[in-house]
Amino acid sequence: MPKSRALFLSMPATTDLDALLARCLRREPAAQRALYLRYAGRMLGIARRYAYTVPEAEDILQDAFVKVFAHLGDYRAGGTLEGWIRRIVVTTAISHWRSGQLRHASEAPPLDEPPASMAVDGTALEGLKVTEVLKLIEQLPHGCRVVLLLYAVDGYSHSEIAELLGIQESTSKAQLSKARKQLTYLYKRQNDFIRL
């Protein structure tokens, strides 16, 4: 085997994703479509958590992917591309909520306050399907719901949530605590209704 060929083979091969990114940066439509198909399903699921309906989630997804392709040159290889796109989807969903584009933001029915002595049950959601969990979460007040999703599911810290939503850290903590209690209360109320 010639020396130059051996040297070439010993070099780290560029992954498919790097090649795809390079083609996307050159604005090749086929590559852009491939990137969309690669991440759209997962990102639509994330958008659906923050939205109330699938069409709202699709609006979020559309805006998010336009941002992705517009700022793809800013992506650095320090983190994963999926994590970078995920953050874009989440911030787009938050901006949709703050601008009032989510139809149900102000239409959520008021909830009964859980009893003060009620404790959080950690096993409440075990065994539930994702659609059932989504239905429970959709009944939460939107502020509590967003803080719960950001903190518990997407791993944001209270300081990041405070910066993202424009609230105090203490408010974020209070909303999270309230969301957990409400979720447990909703689950128990639903179970009691089914048993009856």
């Binding site: 969309y36 759209a40 399903g41 336009v66 969990v133 903190y151 518990a152 599911v153 903590k173």
Partner: protein
């Protein structure tokens, strides 16, 4: 923040529930159609100068500026004394104080260095003017470039009599009478544009009797107008040593101008 284990469990169950949650993109391809439409309308990425080109250019420019700044520069030319008053003083003073033959020779060179000639005429009337001239004039001729001179007319006795009182006109008339014919003709020469080497020649060619005559005439004139001469001298001294009040060449803070220039160039390139 200490998390309650129950809260931690609830968060974990939420994460588990949404871990693999996704909606198949095949059913939402209309979203891609809209995305494709919108990204096609995006402006093309700007193809500016790459860092590979800009950085070496900037570095080379910086090095050039630094080298240019550190290189020895020629000393700033000395500020020339005010010339206009000296010319005026020469036409006034030289014929009054000095001997006619001496004044005729100086008149030829006076357009090259008027101020030293005046100083010589006023201060060293009794000294050896020729030796002083041979030292002073070449220096001035070397520092000041020779300019085309205006033709100097000899002051006639009638002109002086019109301006000055009788007591003042009398010594001037005597001076004019004392001047020998060839020297008076020399003073009428219009070509005062002497090169520097000729000045020393002219100074060395001064007649020997010039100091003696100056010494014999000057005290007589000095007794006639002591107050006026002293005052005139004082005024001339002030004029000679007066510093020009117009804008001086800028000193210091040159690096700021360079930094401003550099930033403008870089901005223009980008």
């Amino acid at each position: 923040m200490s998390t309650d284990p129950e809260e931690h469990l609830l968060d974990q169950s939420l994460r588990d529930a949404f871990r693999d949650y996704h909606l198949p993109p095949a059913g939402h391809m209309h979203v891609w159609d809209q995305v494709e439409e919108r990204i096609a309308a995006l402006p093309a990425p700007r193809t500016g100068l790459s860092y590979r080109l800009v950085l070496p250019l900037t570095a080379a420019l910086g090095v050039g500026v630094a080298v240019g700044w550190l290189l020895p520069r020629p000393a700033a030319p000395p500020v020339a004394p005010a010339a206009a008053p000296a010319v005026h003083a020469t036409t006034w003073v030289a014929p009054q104080h000095a001997a006619p033959s001496w004044a005729a020779h100086v008149g030829a060179a006076s357009t090259v260095a008027c101020a030293p000639v005046h100083r010589l005429a006023s201060k060293t009337a009794g000294r050896n003017a020729a030796s002083h001239l041979s030292v002073q004039l070449p220096k001035q001729a070397a520092s000041n470039p020779v300019k085309p001179a205006r033709p100097s007319k000899p002051i006639q006795a009638e002109q002086v009599a019109r301006v000055l009182p009788d007591s003042a006109t009398q010594p001037t008339a005597r001076l004019t009478a004392l001047a020998p014919a060839p020297l008076a003709a020399d003073s009428n020469r219009e070509n005062n544009n002497l090169p520097a080497p000729e000045l020393s020649t002219a100074a060395s060619a001064l007649p020997k009797e010039a100091p003696a005559k100056a010494a014999s005439v000057a005290p007589e004139h000095a007794t006639a107008h002591p107050a006026k001469t002293a005052k005139q001298e004082e005024v001339n001294e002030k004029m000679l040593y007066r510093k020009p009040t117009h804008r001086q060449p800028e000193r210091g803070l040159g690096w700021r101008r360079w930094v401003t220039h550099l930033s403008q160039v870089v901005h223009r390139i980008l």
